[in-house]
Subunit: 231 residues, 2 copies
Amino acid sequence: MPDRTISKSVIKRLPVYLRILDQLIQRKVDLISSKELSNESGFTAEQIRKDLAHFGAFGTRGAGYNTTFLREKILKIIGLDKKTDVVVFGAGHLGTALTRYNTSKNPYVNVVAVFDIDQELIGTRIAETEVMPLDSASALIKKKRVKVALLAVPVVVAQEVASLAVDSGINAILNFAPAKLTVPEGVHVHDADLTIELQSLIYYSSAESERLKRLQHELQEARSRKTLTLD
Amino acid sequence: MPDRTISKSVIKRLPVYLRILDQLIQRKVDLISSKELSNESGFTAEQIRKDLAHFGAFGTRGAGYNTTFLREKILKIIGLDKKTDVVVFGAGHLGTALTRYNTSKNPYVNVVAVFDIDQELIGTRIAETEVMPLDSASALIKKKRVKVALLAVPVVVAQEVASLAVDSGINAILNFAPAKLTVPEGVHVHDADLTIELQSLIYYSSAESERLKRLQHELQEARSRKTLTLD
DNA sequence: TAGATTGTTAATCGATTAACAATC
DNA sequence: TAGATTGTTAATCGATTAACAATC
């Protein structure tokens, strides 16, 4: 029963299902239950069934989900049934990693070009994709009607480049710069701020250490109490 | 009034507050209201006050928050009051980008080493940090008691390397490989799966396009109706 | 038909938003 | 004291979990 308002959390889980289905299909598995999908993904079976039910009834009661069929449905839902053109801003190490990965390992996107201002890099190729001058970005994005951009430029120019991209027709930006971008309504920005990820991880890591210390302290106290008792 | 169970969402917002405070302090601003923090961060003022209240009362009623004081409090909360040692697995473009960024731009961490198996890379340096053989990882992690690892290796070896890291004493992994890692209880894994980010962005981008098409279609219909009416 | 598993509805849980008393 | 803004409590909203009827 197709819904209207699908939450971000649901949308973030769809690519995980897709990845698992790709693996299952490769392993010639053609039927999978929500319980098994739960094992593979870490999400609960109930959640998986509910997520999918937002978009339709794709399974067979008593049996499970046909992997190929479900994969195709999810591809359609996400919008990956046709290759999506993307551009990359920034040909530094991050931009290079993103370009290489998405050119050679991600079958769902097509990296049209990488843009940079470094004359040394312009004209070279990153996994078949040409590095082009930033000046040429606007014309190319317009010509090919590219909608998605990966932003891997230094933080000081991030807003400027983002605005240029949006003015040229980009409506979705995956932003790697540690900055809050200001964009017109209707433009989607997803932040992939690795600093935030790392710092929140450090919170848990150090909290864990603190907890361990506390536990060890309590253990030691318990031990001395025990010793006293035994005396 | 310090709480016990702090949600992940709260923890993910703390680094954002920290970044804004760093910028404010640099600009010599020493007092900021939750309202102004809201403008800078995009989160609501109420949410910011509530987030901070989980850890204590850091502001002054009627005035706002002292930027330097609040910054120090947040550093303590996250565990960034002392530099955190981290190691990077993988000296490819992603690993290189992560190492460079965290060595030169992130003052809160100390990149101890980058590990790889490529003989060509071993012995070279990435922004002062030495690339070392994977074989030496365990000993170094143990010796320096490193707790945090950034995992930027190919997906096929991700689990193996993660296990090695955990066995050596790592308790927190920022995982860039598109795979669900299996780790012992107490080990924290944060996934930074760029494919998931990109695909969910494409959902919104193409959904947006669909919505636009629908809107244009409706507009056209409305126009023809109008034309008919005028006839 | 019996067993299994989906799709859906109801109950619970948690996070965000709103409101306001406390207080600088 | 008046104005401003925090810290906290209450209300709302949304997402997850549990339960189960539908059905293969």
